[in-house]
Symmetry: C2
Subunit: 75 residues, 2 copies
């Protein structure tokens, strides 16, 4: 069973990686870049029968730093 | 205009970050983790009128290393 977890920095948390990408795109001549946020996408291949609660526990315990990051589960 | 770009390592390319996550989940007591792949999610806030071709150019020139990574654009 494939499950996708997306992890992004919460709004208001500074994203230096995204800012670096924004500057680099500008330096390459791309205009109209108003903002860039960079996050993580984790694809899990799980045994059948794994519940959303299990995946939530994985996010809370390991995958996301919930102080500064939010996560979304797609399964 | 919000555009999402997901960048994953191509199949067959070793993903040590994903492997580390898999081991860590196992160590935390989560069973049935058959595989983990970790990629990037980049959210771009672009000026209206930016075309898919523009975003493709951004991916090819900067965002993705197309030798080992594949990208998908959602706009």
């Amino acid at each position: 069973m494939k499950v996708k977890v997306t992890i992004m920095l919460k709004d208001g948390v500074l994203d230096p990686q995204g800012e670096a990408v924004r500057h680099a795109l500008g330096a390459l001549g791309f205009d109209g870049i108003n903002g860039v946020r960079q996050g993580k996408l984790i694809e899990l291949d799980l045994a059948a029968g794994t519940t959303r609660a299990d995946v939530t526990a994985m996010c809370e315990k390991l995958l996301a730093n919930t102080v500064i990051e939010s996560y979304a589960i797609e399964m």
